[in-house]
């Protein structure tokens, strides 16, 4: 049909794919942080529990 239109459409598609790749990387970094925070919180909670137990 119209090769120019197809070229424009695929360019837009490619840009969207690149943008999605960037968003994915950001979300993955955010997720890593969340997991690290959860691990630290769990560690603190376990430490607190040990202190409470030793005071008893």
């Amino acid at each position: 049909m119209n090769p120019t239109l197809w070229l424009v459409a695929t360019s837009i598609g490619t840009v969207v794919l690149v943008a999605l790749g960037v968003i994915y990387r950001r979300a993955a970094a955010q997720r890593e942080l969340e997991i690290a925070e959860e691990v630290i919180e769990d560690d603190y909670r376990a430490l607190d529990q040990r202190r409470v137990n030793s005071n008893k």
Binding site: M1, N2, A9, T10, G13, R31, E34
Partner: protein, 203 residues
């Protein structure tokens, strides 16, 4: 790998633990990229009559699916807001992406059959290739409806969410028809879909 197994659970309607927004974004994008990869496999099979067609299909088919989804999505989101649906926009997008993944999974599983029949049968090759697309579209639509129905189950105004799903599916199909025409030839032989809306509804 964890993402892919979670994606399969979400697509099959299981209860995968999606804890945060970042996690959901990751799953949605993984679903979309996996869907594009799977559709690329079908493209290779459908165009296997010639190496040039097969290679061009490897990017044309995923691009057709991506562009159709991008065309339909804004209208679905606007409908969701205007109808004051209880379904958050990000959940609609996520369900849409996982249903596209489900549909392309069907396409990819049927791809070897399409390739074999295309080379060995002049009668069944083309109907099978087109049939696999219709089966995939039906599967994706059902998965989309099921995913949204599950998320809004028991909430007021859930019909509004299902209307947005219907609208999104109709617009996706309408856009798909024209993008297929724009990207044709995808299959080695001439089909009514090569000419888009005008040739499908020529009478």
């Amino acid at each position: 790998m964890t993402n892919l197994s979670q994606l399969m659970s979400v697509t099959c309607g299981g209860d995968a633990r999606v804890e945060t927004r970042a996690h959901q974004v990751m799953l949605t994008i993984t679903a979309l990229f996996a869907a594009l990869l799977l559709s690329s496999l079908w493209g290779l099979a459908a165009g296997s009559t010639s190496a040039t067609l097969a290679l061009s299909n490897a990017y044309k088919v995923p691009m057709v699916i991506l562009l159709s989804a991008l065309t339909a999505l804004p209208a679905g989101l606007v409908a969701l807001r205007l109808l004051a649906s209880p379904l958050p926009a990000h959940q609609l997008v996520s369900s849409f992406a996982t249903s596209i993944f489900g549909g392309t999974l069907v396409l990819a599983t049927l791809a070897p059959l399409v390739a074999i029949y295309y080379h060995t049968s002049s009668k069944a090759g083309l109907p099978l290739a087109l049939g696999s697309v219709f089966v995939a579209l039906a599967t994706a639509s059902l998965l989309f409806g099921r995913a949204v129905a599950r998320r809004v189950g028991g909430q007021p105004k859930r019909l509004a969410s299902l209307f947005a799903v219907g609208l999104l599916v109709v617009l996706f199909l309408t856009a798909l028809l024209q993008f297929v025409a724009m990207a044709s030839p995808i299959i080695g032989s001439v089909t009514p879909f090569d000419g888009g809306f005008d040739s499908v509804f020529s009478r």
